[in-house]
Assembly symmetry: none
Homo-oligomer: 231 residues x 2
DNA sequence: GACGTCATACCTGTCTGACAACTAACTAAA
DNA sequence: TTTAGTTAGTTGTCAGACAGGTATGACGTC
Protein backbone atom coordinates (compact mmCIF):
# COMPACT_ATOMS: atom_id res chain seq x y z
CA UNK A 1 0.00 0.00 0.00
CA UNK A 2 2.90 2.34 0.73
CA UNK A 3 4.33 1.64 -2.68
CA UNK A 4 0.98 2.26 -4.33
CA UNK A 5 0.51 5.55 -2.50
CA UNK A 6 3.97 6.62 -3.48
CA UNK A 7 3.30 5.94 -7.15
CA UNK A 8 -0.10 7.60 -6.85
CA UNK A 9 1.66 10.70 -5.60
CA UNK A 10 4.22 10.56 -8.38
CA UNK A 11 1.37 10.63 -10.88
CA UNK A 12 -0.69 13.21 -9.01
CA UNK A 13 2.26 15.51 -8.51
CA UNK A 14 2.74 15.70 -12.25
CA UNK A 15 6.01 13.83 -12.41
CA UNK A 16 4.39 11.60 -14.98
CA UNK A 17 1.85 12.46 -17.63
CA UNK A 18 -0.52 10.26 -19.59
CA UNK A 19 1.38 8.17 -22.09
CA UNK A 20 4.63 8.44 -20.20
CA UNK A 21 6.52 5.25 -19.63
CA UNK A 22 7.35 4.16 -16.12
CA UNK A 23 10.82 2.81 -15.36
CA UNK A 24 11.20 -0.91 -15.94
CA UNK A 25 10.08 -3.00 -13.01
CA UNK A 26 13.63 -3.97 -12.18
CA UNK A 27 14.83 -0.36 -12.19
CA UNK A 28 11.72 0.97 -10.46
CA UNK A 29 12.00 -1.61 -7.69
CA UNK A 30 15.61 -0.65 -7.12
CA UNK A 31 14.69 3.04 -7.19
CA UNK A 32 11.95 2.56 -4.57
CA UNK A 33 14.10 0.13 -2.62
CA UNK A 34 11.53 -2.66 -2.67
CA UNK A 35 11.45 -6.07 -4.25
CA UNK A 36 10.07 -6.54 -7.73
CA UNK A 37 7.38 -8.87 -6.37
CA UNK A 38 6.02 -6.23 -4.01
CA UNK A 39 6.20 -3.58 -6.70
CA UNK A 40 4.23 -5.82 -9.02
CA UNK A 41 1.46 -6.30 -6.46
CA UNK A 42 1.16 -2.52 -6.21
CA UNK A 43 1.17 -2.14 -9.99
CA UNK A 44 -1.60 -4.75 -10.28
CA UNK A 45 -3.85 -2.62 -8.13
CA UNK A 46 -3.01 0.53 -10.07
CA UNK A 47 -3.75 -1.35 -13.28
CA UNK A 48 -7.13 -2.46 -11.92
CA UNK A 49 -7.87 1.15 -11.06
CA UNK A 50 -7.13 2.05 -14.66
CA UNK A 51 -4.27 4.38 -13.78
CA UNK A 52 -1.59 2.45 -15.63
CA UNK A 53 -1.47 0.08 -18.56
CA UNK A 54 0.94 -2.84 -18.63
CA UNK A 55 2.00 -4.49 -21.87
CA UNK A 56 4.19 -7.54 -21.79
CA UNK A 57 7.45 -7.06 -23.59
CA UNK A 58 6.97 -3.30 -23.89
CA UNK A 59 6.54 -1.61 -20.56
CA UNK A 60 4.17 0.11 -18.17
CA UNK A 61 2.54 3.39 -19.08
CA UNK A 62 0.47 6.07 -17.41
CA UNK A 63 -3.10 5.73 -18.63
CA UNK A 64 -5.27 8.54 -19.89
CA UNK A 65 -7.11 9.90 -16.88
CA UNK A 66 -10.21 8.96 -18.79
CA UNK A 67 -13.59 10.28 -17.90
CA UNK A 68 -12.92 9.83 -14.23
CA UNK A 69 -13.42 13.37 -13.17
CA UNK A 70 -11.35 14.55 -10.30
CA UNK A 71 -13.69 12.64 -8.08
CA UNK A 72 -17.21 11.42 -8.71
CA UNK A 73 -19.87 10.77 -6.13
CA UNK A 74 -19.11 7.05 -6.37
CA UNK A 75 -15.99 7.68 -4.34
CA UNK A 76 -16.67 8.10 -0.65
CA UNK A 77 -15.05 10.93 1.19
CA UNK A 78 -15.95 13.17 4.07
CA UNK A 79 -17.80 16.44 3.71
CA UNK A 80 -14.61 18.12 4.85
CA UNK A 81 -12.70 16.61 1.95
CA UNK A 82 -15.53 17.44 -0.42
CA UNK A 83 -15.23 21.08 0.57
CA UNK A 84 -11.44 21.01 0.39
CA UNK A 85 -11.34 19.46 -3.06
CA UNK A 86 -13.41 22.37 -4.34
CA UNK A 87 -10.57 24.55 -3.13
CA UNK A 88 -12.17 26.03 -0.04
CA UNK A 89 -11.20 26.15 3.61
CA UNK A 90 -13.45 23.78 5.56
CA UNK A 91 -14.94 24.78 8.90
CA UNK A 92 -17.75 24.00 11.31
CA UNK A 93 -20.21 26.24 13.12
CA UNK A 94 -23.34 25.73 15.15
CA UNK A 95 -22.26 22.37 16.56
CA UNK A 96 -24.84 20.53 18.64
CA UNK A 97 -24.06 17.22 20.30
CA UNK A 98 -26.62 15.03 22.03
CA UNK A 99 -26.87 11.49 23.34
CA UNK A 100 -30.16 10.04 22.25
CA UNK A 101 -32.06 6.78 22.25
CA UNK A 102 -32.92 5.51 18.80
CA UNK A 103 -36.52 6.19 17.90
CA UNK A 104 -38.51 3.45 16.23
CA UNK A 105 -38.11 5.03 12.80
CA UNK A 106 -34.41 5.71 13.24
CA UNK A 107 -33.81 2.23 14.62
CA UNK A 108 -35.25 0.69 11.49
CA UNK A 109 -33.14 2.86 9.22
CA UNK A 110 -29.99 2.08 11.18
CA UNK A 111 -30.93 -1.54 11.65
CA UNK A 112 -30.50 -1.48 15.43
CA UNK A 113 -32.75 -2.17 18.38
CA UNK A 114 -35.05 0.74 19.33
CA UNK A 115 -33.32 1.13 22.69
CA UNK A 116 -29.85 1.61 21.19
CA UNK A 117 -27.84 4.60 22.36
CA UNK A 118 -26.82 6.95 19.60
CA UNK A 119 -24.78 10.11 19.41
CA UNK A 120 -26.45 12.81 17.39
CA UNK A 121 -24.47 15.59 15.75
CA UNK A 122 -25.85 18.67 14.09
CA UNK A 123 -23.33 20.74 12.28
CA UNK A 124 -23.18 23.53 9.75
CA UNK A 125 -20.18 23.07 7.51
CA UNK A 126 -18.56 26.12 6.01
CA UNK A 127 -16.38 26.79 3.00
CA UNK A 128 -14.19 29.85 3.48
CA UNK A 129 -16.52 30.75 6.33
CA UNK A 130 -19.71 30.56 4.28
CA UNK A 131 -22.26 27.91 5.27
CA UNK A 132 -22.58 25.36 2.47
CA UNK A 133 -23.66 22.04 3.99
CA UNK A 134 -25.93 21.17 6.87
CA UNK A 135 -25.14 17.79 8.43
CA UNK A 136 -27.04 15.58 10.81
CA UNK A 137 -25.11 12.52 11.92
CA UNK A 138 -26.21 9.55 13.99
CA UNK A 139 -23.38 7.46 15.39
CA UNK A 140 -23.77 4.01 16.84
CA UNK A 141 -21.60 4.55 19.92
CA UNK A 142 -22.01 0.97 21.04
CA UNK A 143 -19.33 0.27 18.46
CA UNK A 144 -16.93 3.01 19.59
CA UNK A 145 -16.30 4.70 22.94
CA UNK A 146 -17.08 8.12 21.48
CA UNK A 147 -17.58 10.86 24.04
CA UNK A 148 -19.80 13.90 23.70
CA UNK A 149 -16.76 15.98 24.51
CA UNK A 150 -14.87 14.86 21.44
CA UNK A 151 -13.75 17.49 18.98
CA UNK A 152 -16.40 17.35 16.29
CA UNK A 153 -15.49 20.55 14.53
CA UNK A 154 -13.21 18.81 12.07
CA UNK A 155 -13.68 15.79 9.84
CA UNK A 156 -15.63 12.96 11.44
CA UNK A 157 -13.95 10.50 9.08
CA UNK A 158 -10.52 11.68 10.20
CA UNK A 159 -11.48 11.28 13.84
CA UNK A 160 -12.90 7.80 13.41
CA UNK A 161 -10.15 6.56 11.14
CA UNK A 162 -7.12 8.00 12.87
CA UNK A 163 -8.11 8.10 16.55
CA UNK A 164 -10.33 5.03 16.68
CA UNK A 165 -8.75 2.97 13.92
CA UNK A 166 -12.05 2.55 12.15
CA UNK A 167 -11.78 1.34 8.59
CA UNK A 168 -14.53 2.94 6.56
CA UNK A 169 -15.44 0.76 3.61
CA UNK A 170 -18.49 2.09 1.82
CA UNK A 171 -21.75 3.98 2.12
CA UNK A 172 -25.15 3.28 0.66
CA UNK A 173 -26.35 6.67 -0.43
CA UNK A 174 -29.78 7.91 -1.39
CA UNK A 175 -29.88 11.04 -3.52
CA UNK A 176 -32.78 13.41 -2.98
CA UNK A 177 -33.60 16.86 -4.30
CA UNK A 178 -35.24 18.98 -1.62
CA UNK A 179 -36.40 22.53 -1.17
CA UNK A 180 -34.91 24.62 1.58
CA UNK A 181 -37.41 24.83 4.42
CA UNK A 182 -37.34 27.49 7.08
CA UNK A 183 -34.78 25.68 9.23
CA UNK A 184 -32.42 25.14 6.32
CA UNK A 185 -32.86 28.70 5.11
CA UNK A 186 -31.54 30.02 8.40
CA UNK A 187 -28.85 27.37 8.82
CA UNK A 188 -27.46 27.74 5.31
CA UNK A 189 -28.32 31.40 4.82
CA UNK A 190 -30.00 30.79 1.49
CA UNK A 191 -33.10 32.14 -0.22
CA UNK A 192 -36.34 30.37 0.64
CA UNK A 193 -37.26 27.69 -1.88
CA UNK A 194 -33.70 27.17 -2.95
CA UNK A 195 -33.06 23.67 -4.31
CA UNK A 196 -30.71 21.58 -2.18
CA UNK A 197 -29.24 18.14 -2.62
CA UNK A 198 -29.86 15.80 0.28
CA UNK A 199 -27.61 12.76 0.62
CA UNK A 200 -28.88 10.17 3.08
CA UNK A 201 -26.00 7.86 3.79
CA UNK A 202 -25.55 4.58 5.60
CA UNK A 203 -21.88 4.13 6.37
CA UNK A 204 -20.33 0.69 6.87
CA UNK A 205 -16.94 -0.39 8.14
CA UNK A 206 -14.76 -3.25 6.94
CA UNK A 207 -16.75 -5.71 9.04
CA UNK A 208 -19.93 -4.50 7.32
CA UNK A 209 -21.09 -2.90 10.54
CA UNK A 210 -23.35 0.10 10.11
CA UNK A 211 -21.71 2.72 12.30
CA UNK A 212 -23.06 6.00 10.94
CA UNK A 213 -26.22 7.35 9.39
CA UNK A 214 -25.86 10.84 8.01
CA UNK A 215 -28.09 13.37 6.32
CA UNK A 216 -26.18 16.02 4.38
CA UNK A 217 -27.89 19.00 2.79
CA UNK A 218 -25.68 20.54 0.11
CA UNK A 219 -26.15 23.98 -1.36
CA UNK A 220 -26.61 23.30 -5.05
CA UNK A 221 -25.00 26.57 -6.04
CA UNK A 222 -21.77 25.60 -4.32
CA UNK A 223 -21.36 21.94 -5.20
CA UNK A 224 -21.55 19.97 -8.37
CA UNK A 225 -22.01 16.25 -8.04
CA UNK A 226 -20.97 13.99 -10.84
CA UNK A 227 -21.06 10.30 -11.39
CA UNK A 228 -19.65 8.00 -14.01
CA UNK A 229 -22.41 5.73 -15.22
CA UNK A 230 -21.18 2.65 -17.06
CA UNK A 231 -23.19 0.23 -19.12
CA UNK B 1 -6.18 -12.86 -14.70
CA UNK B 2 -6.87 -16.55 -15.21
CA UNK B 3 -6.17 -17.17 -11.55
CA UNK B 4 -8.46 -14.33 -10.53
CA UNK B 5 -11.28 -15.61 -12.72
CA UNK B 6 -10.85 -19.08 -11.31
CA UNK B 7 -11.12 -17.82 -7.74
CA UNK B 8 -14.05 -15.60 -8.74
CA UNK B 9 -15.80 -18.71 -9.99
CA UNK B 10 -14.99 -20.62 -6.84
CA UNK B 11 -16.71 -17.89 -4.85
CA UNK B 12 -19.61 -17.43 -7.25
CA UNK B 13 -20.27 -21.17 -7.50
CA UNK B 14 -20.81 -21.32 -3.76
CA UNK B 15 -17.71 -23.33 -2.92
CA UNK B 16 -16.87 -20.63 -0.43
CA UNK B 17 -19.17 -18.54 1.69
CA UNK B 18 -18.57 -15.23 3.44
CA UNK B 19 -16.29 -15.72 6.41
CA UNK B 20 -14.78 -18.89 5.06
CA UNK B 21 -11.04 -19.14 5.11
CA UNK B 22 -9.18 -19.71 1.89
CA UNK B 23 -6.30 -22.21 1.83
CA UNK B 24 -2.95 -20.75 2.82
CA UNK B 25 -1.14 -19.06 -0.05
CA UNK B 26 1.43 -21.84 -0.20
CA UNK B 27 -1.22 -24.56 -0.34
CA UNK B 28 -3.49 -22.59 -2.65
CA UNK B 29 -0.66 -21.93 -5.08
CA UNK B 30 0.18 -25.60 -5.14
CA UNK B 31 -3.49 -26.49 -5.60
CA UNK B 32 -3.89 -24.11 -8.55
CA UNK B 33 -0.48 -25.08 -9.89
CA UNK B 34 0.84 -21.52 -9.99
CA UNK B 35 3.55 -19.70 -8.14
CA UNK B 36 2.82 -17.94 -4.90
CA UNK B 37 3.87 -14.61 -6.41
CA UNK B 38 1.31 -14.89 -9.21
CA UNK B 39 -1.38 -16.01 -6.79
CA UNK B 40 -0.64 -13.00 -4.60
CA UNK B 41 -1.04 -10.60 -7.52
CA UNK B 42 -4.46 -12.10 -8.16
CA UNK B 43 -5.40 -11.92 -4.48
CA UNK B 44 -4.36 -8.26 -4.37
CA UNK B 45 -6.90 -7.45 -7.06
CA UNK B 46 -9.61 -9.46 -5.31
CA UNK B 47 -8.80 -7.63 -2.10
CA UNK B 48 -9.09 -4.27 -3.87
CA UNK B 49 -12.46 -5.39 -5.21
CA UNK B 50 -13.49 -6.12 -1.64
CA UNK B 51 -14.15 -9.79 -2.28
CA UNK B 52 -11.55 -11.08 0.16
CA UNK B 53 -9.88 -9.82 3.31
CA UNK B 54 -6.25 -10.59 4.07
CA UNK B 55 -4.82 -10.48 7.57
CA UNK B 56 -1.15 -11.01 8.18
CA UNK B 57 -0.43 -13.94 10.42
CA UNK B 58 -3.98 -15.23 10.21
CA UNK B 59 -5.13 -15.91 6.70
CA UNK B 60 -7.32 -14.84 3.81
CA UNK B 61 -11.10 -14.83 4.13
CA UNK B 62 -14.10 -14.41 1.89
CA UNK B 63 -15.63 -10.98 2.50
CA UNK B 64 -19.29 -10.20 2.97
CA UNK B 65 -20.73 -9.34 -0.42
CA UNK B 66 -21.48 -5.64 -0.62
CA UNK B 67 -25.26 -5.16 -0.55
CA UNK B 68 -25.49 -3.72 -4.03
CA UNK B 69 -29.03 -2.51 -4.51
CA UNK B 70 -30.90 -3.76 -7.48
CA UNK B 71 -29.34 -1.02 -9.53
CA UNK B 72 -27.60 2.14 -8.46
CA UNK B 73 -27.15 5.28 -10.49
CA UNK B 74 -23.62 4.20 -11.32
CA UNK B 75 -25.12 1.76 -13.79
CA UNK B 76 -26.21 3.36 -17.02
CA UNK B 77 -29.58 2.49 -18.46
CA UNK B 78 -32.23 4.29 -20.43
CA UNK B 79 -35.06 6.25 -18.88
CA UNK B 80 -37.38 3.60 -20.27
CA UNK B 81 -35.55 0.90 -18.34
CA UNK B 82 -35.46 3.09 -15.25
CA UNK B 83 -39.24 3.35 -15.37
CA UNK B 84 -39.66 -0.35 -16.06
CA UNK B 85 -37.43 -1.44 -13.23
CA UNK B 86 -39.70 0.45 -10.84
CA UNK B 87 -42.48 -1.78 -12.09
CA UNK B 88 -44.34 0.67 -14.29
CA UNK B 89 -45.39 0.67 -17.93
CA UNK B 90 -43.20 3.13 -19.84
CA UNK B 91 -44.66 5.48 -22.43
CA UNK B 92 -44.02 8.75 -24.26
CA UNK B 93 -46.22 11.76 -24.86
CA UNK B 94 -45.73 15.27 -26.21
CA UNK B 95 -42.93 14.26 -28.59
CA UNK B 96 -41.22 17.12 -30.42
CA UNK B 97 -38.48 16.51 -32.96
CA UNK B 98 -36.35 19.22 -34.54
CA UNK B 99 -33.20 19.52 -36.56
CA UNK B 100 -31.10 22.29 -35.16
CA UNK B 101 -27.68 23.86 -35.49
CA UNK B 102 -25.60 23.73 -32.35
CA UNK B 103 -25.60 27.03 -30.54
CA UNK B 104 -22.34 28.32 -29.16
CA UNK B 105 -23.19 27.22 -25.63
CA UNK B 106 -24.43 23.81 -26.70
CA UNK B 107 -21.43 23.29 -28.96
CA UNK B 108 -19.10 23.79 -26.04
CA UNK B 109 -21.00 21.34 -23.87
CA UNK B 110 -21.07 18.72 -26.60
CA UNK B 111 -17.54 19.49 -27.70
CA UNK B 112 -18.44 20.00 -31.35
CA UNK B 113 -18.09 22.89 -33.79
CA UNK B 114 -20.83 25.55 -33.46
CA UNK B 115 -22.11 24.75 -36.97
CA UNK B 116 -22.74 21.06 -36.23
CA UNK B 117 -26.18 19.64 -37.07
CA UNK B 118 -28.00 18.14 -34.13
CA UNK B 119 -31.30 16.38 -33.66
CA UNK B 120 -33.25 17.71 -30.74
CA UNK B 121 -35.87 15.62 -28.96
CA UNK B 122 -38.30 16.80 -26.34
CA UNK B 123 -40.28 14.08 -24.69
CA UNK B 124 -42.46 13.55 -21.66
CA UNK B 125 -41.97 10.05 -20.33
CA UNK B 126 -44.82 8.37 -18.54
CA UNK B 127 -45.14 5.56 -16.01
CA UNK B 128 -48.52 3.85 -16.24
CA UNK B 129 -49.70 6.89 -18.17
CA UNK B 130 -48.58 9.42 -15.56
CA UNK B 131 -45.85 11.90 -16.55
CA UNK B 132 -42.74 11.29 -14.45
CA UNK B 133 -39.72 12.43 -16.45
CA UNK B 134 -39.17 15.28 -18.89
CA UNK B 135 -36.36 14.64 -21.36
CA UNK B 136 -34.46 16.88 -23.72
CA UNK B 137 -32.00 15.03 -25.94
CA UNK B 138 -29.42 16.37 -28.36
CA UNK B 139 -28.06 13.82 -30.80
CA UNK B 140 -24.96 14.29 -32.90
CA UNK B 141 -26.43 13.00 -36.20
CA UNK B 142 -23.13 13.41 -37.99
CA UNK B 143 -22.26 10.12 -36.32
CA UNK B 144 -25.47 8.29 -37.27
CA UNK B 145 -27.91 8.67 -40.17
CA UNK B 146 -30.82 9.33 -37.84
CA UNK B 147 -33.96 10.68 -39.50
CA UNK B 148 -36.55 12.97 -37.97
CA UNK B 149 -39.15 10.42 -38.92
CA UNK B 150 -37.68 7.73 -36.71
CA UNK B 151 -39.87 6.26 -33.98
CA UNK B 152 -38.81 8.13 -30.89
CA UNK B 153 -41.65 7.08 -28.65
CA UNK B 154 -39.76 4.11 -27.25
CA UNK B 155 -36.28 3.75 -25.77
CA UNK B 156 -33.62 5.79 -27.53
CA UNK B 157 -30.97 3.39 -26.25
CA UNK B 158 -32.80 0.45 -27.81
CA UNK B 159 -33.04 2.24 -31.12
CA UNK B 160 -29.39 3.23 -31.24
CA UNK B 161 -28.07 -0.09 -30.00
CA UNK B 162 -30.23 -2.45 -31.97
CA UNK B 163 -30.96 -0.58 -35.22
CA UNK B 164 -27.71 1.35 -35.56
CA UNK B 165 -25.34 -1.04 -33.80
CA UNK B 166 -24.12 1.66 -31.46
CA UNK B 167 -22.23 0.43 -28.46
CA UNK B 168 -22.98 2.70 -25.54
CA UNK B 169 -20.12 2.67 -23.08
CA UNK B 170 -20.62 5.27 -20.39
CA UNK B 171 -22.12 8.62 -19.49
CA UNK B 172 -20.67 11.50 -17.52
CA UNK B 173 -23.55 12.62 -15.40
CA UNK B 174 -24.06 15.79 -13.44
CA UNK B 175 -26.59 15.60 -10.64
CA UNK B 176 -28.60 18.74 -9.92
CA UNK B 177 -31.51 19.48 -7.65
CA UNK B 178 -33.91 21.93 -9.29
CA UNK B 179 -37.27 23.46 -8.59
CA UNK B 180 -40.10 22.90 -11.03
CA UNK B 181 -40.58 26.04 -13.08
CA UNK B 182 -43.74 26.84 -14.95
CA UNK B 183 -42.82 24.78 -18.01
CA UNK B 184 -41.99 21.74 -15.91
CA UNK B 185 -45.10 22.16 -13.80
CA UNK B 186 -47.28 21.82 -16.88
CA UNK B 187 -45.21 19.11 -18.53
CA UNK B 188 -44.97 16.92 -15.44
CA UNK B 189 -48.29 17.94 -13.91
CA UNK B 190 -46.74 18.66 -10.53
CA UNK B 191 -47.23 21.33 -7.90
CA UNK B 192 -45.24 24.51 -8.40
CA UNK B 193 -41.97 24.55 -6.46
CA UNK B 194 -41.74 20.80 -6.36
CA UNK B 195 -38.14 19.55 -6.11
CA UNK B 196 -36.93 17.63 -9.13
CA UNK B 197 -33.73 15.81 -9.89
CA UNK B 198 -32.02 16.95 -13.07
CA UNK B 199 -29.48 14.62 -14.65
CA UNK B 200 -27.33 16.25 -17.32
CA UNK B 201 -25.65 13.45 -19.18
CA UNK B 202 -22.91 13.22 -21.77
CA UNK B 203 -23.13 9.82 -23.43
CA UNK B 204 -20.12 8.20 -25.05
CA UNK B 205 -19.75 5.14 -27.26
CA UNK B 206 -16.99 2.56 -27.25
CA UNK B 207 -14.77 4.84 -29.32
CA UNK B 208 -15.18 7.57 -26.70
CA UNK B 209 -17.26 9.59 -29.15
CA UNK B 210 -19.81 11.89 -27.56
CA UNK B 211 -23.03 11.06 -29.39
CA UNK B 212 -25.76 12.26 -27.03
CA UNK B 213 -26.32 15.04 -24.54
CA UNK B 214 -29.45 14.63 -22.49
CA UNK B 215 -31.22 16.56 -19.76
CA UNK B 216 -33.62 14.45 -17.72
CA UNK B 217 -35.92 15.95 -15.10
CA UNK B 218 -37.13 13.27 -12.69
CA UNK B 219 -40.08 13.65 -10.35
CA UNK B 220 -38.54 13.12 -6.93
CA UNK B 221 -41.71 11.57 -5.55
CA UNK B 222 -41.59 8.82 -8.15
CA UNK B 223 -37.94 7.90 -8.30
CA UNK B 224 -35.30 7.10 -5.75
CA UNK B 225 -31.72 7.32 -6.85
CA UNK B 226 -29.06 5.44 -4.99
CA UNK B 227 -25.34 5.08 -5.35
CA UNK B 228 -22.73 2.89 -3.76
CA UNK B 229 -19.89 5.07 -2.59
CA UNK B 230 -16.68 3.20 -1.84
CA UNK B 231 -13.61 4.43 -0.08
C1' DG C 1 -8.30 -21.68 40.09
C1' DA C 2 -6.71 -17.35 37.71
C1' DC C 3 -3.37 -15.03 35.37
C1' DG C 4 0.82 -13.96 32.80
C1' DT C 5 4.83 -15.81 30.14
C1' DC C 6 6.78 -18.47 26.80
C1' DA C 7 7.27 -21.73 22.98
C1' DT C 8 5.30 -23.19 18.88
C1' DA C 9 2.92 -23.65 14.57
C1' DC C 10 0.90 -21.29 10.93
C1' DC C 11 0.01 -17.49 8.11
C1' DT C 12 0.84 -13.30 5.20
C1' DG C 13 4.57 -9.81 3.81
C1' DT C 14 8.82 -9.28 1.56
C1' DC C 15 13.07 -10.34 -0.82
C1' DT C 16 16.33 -12.55 -4.18
C1' DG C 17 17.70 -14.48 -8.42
C1' DA C 18 16.52 -16.76 -12.34
C1' DC C 19 14.18 -18.03 -16.65
C1' DA C 20 10.17 -17.80 -20.03
C1' DA C 21 7.33 -15.13 -23.16
C1' DC C 22 6.69 -11.21 -25.67
C1' DT C 23 7.70 -6.79 -28.36
C1' DA C 24 10.12 -3.59 -31.17
C1' DA C 25 14.04 -2.34 -33.64
C1' DC C 26 17.75 -3.46 -36.28
C1' DT C 27 20.41 -6.38 -39.67
C1' DA C 28 21.21 -9.26 -43.39
C1' DA C 29 19.69 -12.16 -47.01
C1' DA C 30 16.47 -13.18 -50.81
C1' DT D 1 11.53 -4.09 -51.45
C1' DT D 2 10.45 -7.80 -48.81
C1' DT D 3 11.44 -11.26 -45.65
C1' DA D 4 13.63 -13.75 -42.04
C1' DG D 5 16.63 -13.78 -38.29
C1' DT D 6 19.01 -11.50 -34.37
C1' DT D 7 19.14 -8.86 -30.31
C1' DA D 8 18.06 -5.89 -26.43
C1' DG D 9 14.68 -4.69 -23.25
C1' DT D 10 10.39 -5.51 -20.90
C1' DT D 11 6.68 -7.92 -18.38
C1' DG D 12 5.10 -12.73 -16.73
C1' DT D 13 6.16 -16.54 -13.93
C1' DC D 14 8.65 -19.39 -10.90
C1' DA D 15 11.13 -21.49 -6.66
C1' DG D 16 12.99 -20.88 -2.30
C1' DA D 17 13.96 -18.39 1.67
C1' DC D 18 13.37 -15.37 5.66
C1' DA D 19 10.89 -11.64 8.38
C1' DG D 20 6.94 -10.25 10.90
C1' DG D 21 2.39 -10.97 12.84
C1' DT D 22 -1.25 -13.98 15.16
C1' DA D 23 -3.49 -17.61 17.66
C1' DT D 24 -2.98 -21.56 20.67
C1' DG D 25 -1.61 -24.41 24.27
C1' DA D 26 1.85 -25.59 27.92
C1' DC D 27 3.82 -24.06 31.91
C1' DG D 28 4.91 -21.63 36.09
C1' DT D 29 3.53 -18.21 39.46
C1' DC D 30 0.38 -15.97 42.47
Amino acid sequence: MKIKEHIDNLIASGNYEPGDKLPSETAFARELDVSRASLREALRVLEKEGKIIKTQGVGTFIAEPIPRFKKGIEELFSVTDTIKKEGYQAGTIGLEVASIIASKKLAIQMKVKPSTKLLQLKRIRTADGKPVVYCEDFLNIELFPLAETENFTASLFDLLENKYGLKIKYALTEINPVIANQKLVSKLEVQPNMPLLLLKQLHYDEKDQLFLYSKNYFRSDQFQFRVLRTR
